[in-house]
């Protein structure tokens, strides 16, 4: 019978009481466990990618860097593969590809999805209906099916896989943007801008865009991990990275036949993928908490 809905007035009291506590974004991000761990993992990944030629003990492509199928040892901390290549070095170089995949795929889907969603949400009427129904049609296919279709058209390869994954997730970003735009459009500040005489461009890019971006940063960060997984999956199927690229998903698939003889060939790329995905997911959660402190109280 007593409902815990707090009154507007209580909210006022609370807001006033906590006003000086407003923390900066970075402080909030580093203050939450998920933000801190996520940021640390992603930072290590970026560091590895940038300094790969320095920190990697061997050339990732050099065959017979050591004996073939060597279990982990001091010289080869993650062992060697069936061509005698150093797995540790390959993983470090793989970080470069992984980051590229994340940035390019999410970049494509985020940009296109954002524009589509903004235009559809802002315009309303026929433009909105046509655009969003198109998006719905694409959305009704699984992303991987669309990615496969794109690869069938472009041809296989890691770059094409990135583009294909990017295209496949445009509908998702378009939908999210569209719904956020609809919410923001209903707020009085938007009407206030219309009343002030603002034109289309100003309304979209000065008023709607800055209020949509925070949500999309969160979604985009989470999306990086999805893209990495998808690319690993495509590479595993042989549609993405081609030999001898040190791509983690491809490394996984080439270890398939040797799983009992050289489990390290499977374990380490698998771990790298899992930890990276975890890192981006935690970072996304952390950013969301930092941007909207109310959500953490639940």
């Amino acid at each position: 019978m007593i409902h815990s809905s707090s009154t507007a007035d209580l909210a006022d009291d609370l807001a006033l009481a906590s006003a000086p506590q407003r923390r900066s974004f970075w402080r909030a991000l580093l203050g939450s466990p998920s933000g801190l761990i996520g940021l640390a993992i992603v930072a290590v990944l970026i560091f590895a990618a940038l300094t790969a030629p320095i920190i990697a003990p061997f050339d990732p492509l050099r065959m017979a860097a050591g004996p073939r199928l060597q279990p982990p040892s001091l010289a080869h901390p993650m062992g060697t593969d069936d061509f005698g290549r150093d797995v540790f070095s390959r993983i470090i170089f793989g970080a470069r590809l992984t980051l590229q995949i994340g940035v390019i795929a999410v970049g494509i889907s985020l940009t296109c999805g954002l524009l589509l969603g903004l235009v559809a949400g802002y315009s309303s009427g026929w433009t909105e209906r046509v655009l969003m129904r198109l998006v719905d049609v694409l959305f009704s296919f699984t992303e991987i099916v669309i990615a496969l279709a794109c690869l069938a058209i472009f041809g296989v390869g890691l770059t094409n896989a990135m583009i294909a994954i990017g295209i496949a997730s445009i509908p998702f970003y378009a939908r999210v943007t569209h719904s956020v735009v609809l919410v923001e459009k209903g707020k009085p500040y938007f009407e206030a801008a219309v009343a002030a005489g603002a034109g289309h461009i100003r309304l979209i890019f000065m008023h709607l865009l800055p209020n949509v971006v925070p949500t999309l940063i969160v979604i985009g960060t989470l999306g990086v991990s999805t893209a990495i997984l998808a690319a690993a999956g495509l590479s595993f199927l042989g549609l993405g990275a081609q030999p001898p690229q040190p791509e983690w998903g491809f490394m996984l698939s080439s270890s398939r036949d040797l799983i009992s003889r050289a489990p390290w060939m499977m374990i380490f790329p698998g771990l790298a993928i899992a930890i990276t995905v975890l890192g981006f997911n935690l970072l996304g959660d952390g950013i969301r908490e930092a941007l909207d402190p109310r959500q953490t109280e639940r």
Binding site: I2, H3, D9, D12, D13, L14, R22, A192, G199
Partner: protein
């Protein structure tokens, strides 16, 4: 009555939020007693801690962020603040019940009224389903709802706001509680509904002998309901006393200022013009705005239900507004007053009607020309928290209309923005702040500065002060009056608050269900209302004076009110017949 013992005794209550460096005290050393059968009003502005302190009694503060640091609240020989969740749950909804501000959201939308009403009775009183249902129907009858058996089967969305608040009161009173905690129980309601709900609460209080803790910011409600008053400010008790003493001989400066800031209906009844605040005010001049026959129906949009019926928000609305004049549009929710304001600015498209500004037909203008015409007319919105884009700096927000209309750039834009900040009583270094760093009153000043930036002739102000505390409201109204009189602005002032309207308006138009039912000079409409609805509205306004009892409410027969065409009964004074 001899040696009365308090029913509830709160002593030294201190509540804080956050910890360590971030610790913030919301309530500091609050003490008060509540006597049996008494109504105690806790009054204060936002941030005074009035809600926090009452929520704490029922253990309803957000766990984790709020700490009750010290204090006791003895009730029934127990300390409410020391009870476990389990024990508190036994008291909540049984011995101490609560009604909230928002009747729209405090009922669960997916459960029938009957279920929600009987839940606590079955839980706490151990009644059987049938007994509880009988009690529930009795209570619905007591709170004045017709046909209780049918109401029991209805869902909350089938009831109006006033009816839902009646249901909330029925729920709160059903268990015959010792204490009823009412947190702004009528703030979200229309004034005529508010009057009925207050009457009902008074009636139930005498009938059940319940003690009421009434939390409110509205001095009119306090004067009407309270026996004793606690005035709070920034977490501390400022003053406490019997209601008449507080209103007649307040001791503290804050209480005096608070009372002085309350607009009183009738205070300006003798003056023909709004209060003069500048030496040579601009007088109303030539006709600026002419509207007639404005109609708008909101249709339900859907794939299959296209163009079938809808709600008429505005029907045949028309009025004139002269330069430098203030026309107030008053009415309750759903009267179409905001729709009218938006239609004038062409923020929505009319089905029919004429809107002329300076003789130019606004409805015939194309998109680009409408945007140009918006230079002449600006809007101030009700909610200063939501009507400013949170991601733009204050300086950019105020400068935006000038940028849009290409009035200034570079250094000149900077200078003009700075002048506007000073003009509305803000400081130049406020320009780099963001909206969330301002208080409600300051934000409304920002909105005003923004509207003024393009030197408009007409400003549509939609409830510009109703989200503000009374002391801030007084300042903002003062600023609006001053700007109008020195700049010769015309205001279309939309409000539900008759006392505020009396203070600012030259002319008043009363709206009901999308039509103007009475329009005329302020004195004519407010002092000598001719339409029964206008009279009812005026009679329902709570009077901030405990010695004057509001008369009984005139009963309106909603179906028989004259809504027809306006006829002139005195010069300029027109009433629906």
């Amino acid at each position: 009555m001899t040696a009365r013992t308090p029913l509830l005794s709160v002593k030294g209550l201190t509540i804080s939020f956050g910890r360590g460096r971030h610790r913030n005290v919301a309530v500091k050393g609050l003490s008060y007693d509540l006597m049996p059968g008494e109504t105690l009003a806790i009054v204060g502005e936002s941030g005074s801690g009035k809600s926090v302190s009452s929520m704490a009694l029922l253990g309803l503060l957000p766990p984790g962020s709020a700490n009750i640091e010290t204090g006791t609240a003895s009730f029934d020989g127990r300390d409410l603040l020391k009870l476990s969740d389990e024990e508190l749950r036994g008291i909540r909804g049984d011995r101490v019940t609560m009604i909230f501000q928002e009747p729209m959201t405090s009922l669960t939308p997916v459960l029938r009224i009957g279920q929600q009403l009987t839940e606590a009775l079955i839980e706490h009183k151990g009644m059987s389903r049938a007994e509880a249902a009988t009690r529930g129907r009795e209570m619905l009858n007591l709170v004045g709802l017709d046909d209780p058996p049918r109401r029991m089967r209805q869902f909350p969305h089938e009831l109006s706001g006033g009816m839902r608040q009646r249901v909330m009161i029925a729920m709160a009173m059903a268990s015959d509680p010792a204490i009823l905690l009412a947190d702004e129980p009528t703030t979200a309601l229309d004034v005529t509904v508010q009057a009925q709900i207050l009457d009902l609460m008074r009636d139930l209080k005498t009938r059940f002998g319940t003690s009421i803790i009434l939390i409110t910011h509205d001095m009119g409600v306090v004067a009407e309901m309270a026996d004793r008053v606690v005035v709070m400010r920034k977490g501390r008790k400022i003053e406490e006393g019997p209601v008449r003493q507080i209103f007649e001989t307040p001791q503290e400066d804050y209480t005096k200022a608070l009372l002085a800031a309350v607009p009183r209906l009738g205070a300006h009844a003798a003056a023909a013009e709004p209060r003069q605040v500048v030496d040579s005010p601009a007088r109303p001049g030539a006709r600026l705005l002419h509207t007639e026959g404005m109609s708008k129906t909101f249709r339900q949009r859907g794939l299959f239900a296209a163009k079938s019926g809808g709600t008429a928000a505005m029907q045949d609305v028309g009025f004139d507004l002269a330069a430098g004049e203030t026309l107030a549009l008053v009415g309750e929710s759903g009267s179409g007053k905001s729709t009218t304001g938006r239609a004038v600015l062409r923020l929505l498209d009319l089905d029919a009607g004429v809107i002329e500004i300076d003789g130019i037909d606004m409805r015939k203008l194309s998109g680009a020309n409408v945007r140009k015409a918006r230079r002449e007319m600006q809007m101030i919105f009700q909610d200063p928290f939501a009507s400013l884009n949170p991601r733009l700096s204050a300086g950019r927000l105020v400068a935006e209309p000038m940028v849009i209309h290409g009035l200034a750039k570079g250094r000149e834009l900077q200078d003009r923005t700075e002048q506007l900040f000073l003009r509305v009583g803000l400081e130049a270094d406020h320009m780099r702040r963001f909206p969330h760093e301002f208080s409600g009153g300051q934000r409304q000043r920002l909105s005003i500065a923004r509207a003024l930036s393009v030197n408009p002739k007409l400003i549509v102000a939609d409830e510009p002060t109703s989200a503000l505390d009374v002391s801030v409201q007084a300042q903002v109204l003062e600023l609006m009056l001053e700007l109008k009189q020195s700049l010769g602005l015309a205001y279309l002032f939309i409000s539900h608050d008759m006392a505020v309207v009396e203070e600012v308006a030259h002319r008043v138009a009363v709206m009901r269900r999308g039509r103007i039912v009475e329009i005329g000079p302020r004195q004519a409409v407010l002092n000598d209302p001719r339409h029964p609805y206008t009279s009812a509205l005026l009679a329902a306004v709570p009077v901030p004076d405990p010695t004057r009892r509001r008369g009984t409410l005139p009963t309106l027969d909603a179906g028989r009110l004259p809504m027809g065409p306006l006829t002139e009964i005195a010069p300029q004074h027109m009433v629906a017949t």
